[in-house]
Subunit: 350 residues, 4 copies
């Protein structure tokens, strides 16, 4: 372990925190040295403080870690935040001010002017926004909402090649997106809930920042239109999204499929450990993609796409599927950390 | 029973046929006198020919009926067709030619120029198209697809009051829409299937005939645009649909909600037994409607609507929910029969 | 309403409290005059204090009721307790001491020596135990656990006719048995949880009191052996139980089926409104009973039984199914109230 | 590939056939050289003849294989049979007579006197029964039913150490055990089906042969009593079983847990590729094992056990969980092939 980089997880006992631990357990670059949570858990062994709900067994070394308080006296300078939005804002800021690198899955700082909202394949250039941050030695980078990440990855090669003018998206989201205990079984078995609090607003705003241009150290938001309708369905993992797009140039279907098939970006070039080999995988089978079959492609880090066809309202419609707790949460944040490391941004913290 | 009208069910052993039997078992006007099915079932007792899957127990009188062949030598002149599309076309025509009134749930004749595609609350005036039919004494009336019925009912008061220019719909459809045995459990538990064969085409075409104008004994199809995306979800009964509309006049939200709340049509005026008291019921609760909670409102014959809100792509978006095997199939066809009876169209067949 | 008996619901905002309200909304004898809950809810309108999750809409009169504290200053002298076990013990006792009749679904007083644990079809004679209670004018009667009720009803005619020596039961219990929010969807979709806290203990003890004999004002517990194994499955409503029995006399299969088919008890004789017409309904179809098909038979108040067959370990095995929130909770308690009323036990409280 | 052993799959297009292909795709010893199926599929490319429903993508080399008829003119002498029981009997016999080694998942020959019914960890000694077979150069070995395998593995160390006298088992079985399309979704969502055709009979008979003693080239069946009750639940993969046992010697709980923790058998000694490292894994967490969490332990080849506790009817009760299509079908058969290879039984066929 000695030459790995020590990292800490804030909010380590919740479901996103657990997913960070599961995914980082055998990471080639990072070592989970510390876990932190609320005062209620602090002081206990991790295995006792948490109700482990991941499908792979809890790593024994981590089980023995003593949970620390979420205060900036950790020895690991790189921290992943899986904190709840009710407390994340202040704690993350506190860490950044005290010289920590905070990679956060919480929504609190996503729209701070100087905080990148980052999807490495889409807008890795926005990292440079951290130089505007006034926290002292530390900085904060955020991960977008789980339903946004799959969408912007699928849109990226379309926007680069054909320029997006409008996007309509209707989601069918997995229950794991609601955290744990989250969605009650009485509400969702044999049912659909056509409402997820705050979700449509996030999906309509976040892509505009992510596709914005970094000009004079500020992000000019993209100005295409987006309408989102978000629904919860009885699926454990994997958000399915029905997407319709209007494109400035009018490509043929084949051209669109080709840009997806050939899409590759910075994480692939740098060969980052968590980078999917094909970030946007197109399937020619008309009943694909499906959450049960495709949520784990490329270790849950790629977006599965299918059913590209003409649309009489906008230009084209298609279906996308991505793993909401891997690509859409912990895995996406880990990829950000790998990008930072690979580009030297972590050097002075080690 | 003596003064009720005898009716027959064609395709009585399948899941739609069973639903006809369940719903007609205590009908105030109609009496199930005969059940017909394929040659394989003919000659057996109904209870032995069918694998009864309805939730209410099979009526004992009907259990004892001997299944007949689907040939036009039945004594009941009013027949409900729950036949499979692979055989419905010819059999139904054969019945009509031999003087029967056929009310069909099959898709085969829906786009025949002289066959009404009828939703009583929406286009009851289209009944008169039957006078163009050249089958001799009989005639055929069709019921639209289960996912279309809820949609056109919700759109009807909008179109009447504000004129629809474009409709986008994304469905989350129940497994019962796929018949029995239908969707394999291995395909749908913990999953979404973003494809239903032929469904999007039906949803994009049928509303244009239904909202067409009957001019000089022909239907001029409506010319608004429709785009449909159809998905199967792990729900037993009840199709949920995310609808977006562009309207020629730009009403305020309240005006739209009011036209739904006040919508009433011919079946309500005639006080038909299966007519919902409020065909379009709007809910102010932001997480409504939901299939498990609202599929049975007004005995499964109404459309539940909710979440009306602005849309940045079209003008408004909202959620609708209707029971696919009651309103969307057998119940809808029964309401057509009641309309025919009430308006005197059945008189000469009794 | 004027000549109905006013009743109050304690713990009215929880899922069992809601079920009481749903079932009592049109009761021929009782009128919900008051609803009470925790201090957090008290003072609010019921519709605002509760997150209504029942499938039938909330009755408008009840929606307007102001929630009261769970203190014995209610004007209705008959109270149904849907209180959580963490507070039920003391509150119920307090009501009884102040002259109220408390019919409770909570477990706290079930094993008090002087408190009946009552299933009207099984041990209505135990009502007389209330005369031993020293609460002053009031008294407490309890309803057993939801998984116990179906079992003892199915066993009652066997015990009366053939004498039970041993019972083995393995349950597959619905999520609604866990209350609301209850079982997280992440835990139960595509899963079985082979453990329900405290449940096996209840199932192994409660039947012995219920089948006990009231001798000299005390209950002598039955002494057959019971072993219970309790499991949670992804079903909304309806507990399925696999039962094996050893009987002292060795009846033939037909004899057993006959005693179930002919079983009728005090509630049937008294023609109580909530009494199922056939408390134990036997099905000859080998794949019956099933929760989705049979949970609502006889308005959810009967036990569905099937698959009686030989067992090489005990004598016979069979399957039972009962609705856990109707027969197994609120409906069962209402039947107790009806029995009390019918037999005159409520007269002095009106 | 050159030094791997060529094998063929009979019934390659069904769900068990697909699971064989998925599991054998990267097998260190075996190479899928041929796939065979019914005449309807023969002659087509495998990818076109099958509706691939496995979660890992179809191996490209196998996708290109031309499906052959299920006739004994294959060049691979080792064949895995995933044939349907309606045809397996004759076809398998035909192969054996023509010099092939047939490892079958079908039930047809399981009770032939000279055919081993084999679970490598439990009764590997029964292999020698093949010397009694009169098929000429070939032979047949069978795999038990999916619900039997997990049970006998959990019972094996108990029987060896404490001698089993009686077993009671109640199953909650996954839908994948019913094949594809198998269980209709309309039958199982929000439901339990307390009946699986033929299943209880298999579970009550197969363990007696498996635990039988091979004496004078014949198997003397074990004579403990077994009672089985089989149920289908809405779970994709993984059979959960509630087991009760009566043991001749009366061990303490710790002793039982220890024999499970220490159980190891021939496949472990031989270090076979598909052998689980710990065939019987005991969990101390009271809500374990669960299908979603534990079906894949040891690559789906181990049995997860938990909740050992006293039983008032038999001596002890506990819960087991095993993957029905891996350990219980294809994976179990592959382990048999590995055992044969490792012990030299395949040498003359290569």
């Amino acid at each position: 372990m000695s030459n790995k980089i020590d990292v800490a997880i804030l909010g380590a006992t919740g479901s996103v925190g657990q997913k960070f631990i599961e995914l980082l357990s055998n990471h080639p670059w990072f070592n989970i040295a510390e876990v932190a949570a609320s005062d209620r858990s602090a002081g206990k062994k991790y295995s006792e403080a948490t109700n482990w709900i991941m499908q792979s067994p809890l790593n024994k070394n981590i089980a023995e870690l003593i949970v620390k308080n979420s205060e900036p006296n950790l020895k690991s300078k790189i921290v992943f935040s899986a904190l709840d939005a009710s407390v994340a804002g202040e704690i993350e800021e506190n860490f950044a001010k005290n010289g920590y690198v905070v990679i956060s899955n919480a929504r609190n700082h996503r729209f701070d002017e100087d905080v990148p909202l980052l999807v490495p394949e889409v807008n890795y250039q926005h990292i440079d926004l951290i130089h505007q941050q006034k926290f002292g030695d530390g900085f904060i980078i955020t991960n977008p909402n789980c339903s946004t990440i799959g969408l912007v990855m699928a849109l990226k090669p379309l926007h680069d090649n054909f320029e997006i003018e409008a996007v309509n998206v209707v989601t069918m989201q997995a229950v794991s997106g609601g955290g744990y205990p989250g969605v009650p079984s009485m509400d969702i078995i044999d049912n659909v809930i056509p409402f997820i609090s705050g979700e449509e607003d996030k999906m309509e705003k976040e892509p505009k920042k992510i596709f914005g241009n970094l000009i004079n150290n500020k992000i000019e938001f993209a100005n295409f239109k987006i309408s989102a309708s978000c629904n919860r369905v009885p699926v454990i993992d994997g958000h399915t999204e029905i997407v319709q797009v209007k494109l400035k140039s009018k490509p043929a279907k084949d051209e669109i499929i080709n840009v997806w098939k050939n899409f590759s970006s910075e994480p692939q070039k740098l060969n980052l450990p968590f980078a999917p080999s094909k970030p946007t995988t197109y399937f020619d089978v008309e009943k694909y993609p499906q959450p049960k079959l495709h949520r784990n492609i490329d270790k849950g880090m790629a977006v599965a796409i299918g059913r590209l066809r003409d649309c009489s309202i906008l230009d084209y419609k298609f279906v996308i599927l991505s793993h909401n707790t891997i690509r859409g949460a912990a895995g996406g944040a880990i990829l950000i950390a790998e990008l930072l490391k690979s580009k030297g941004y972590l050097d002075k913290y080690l």
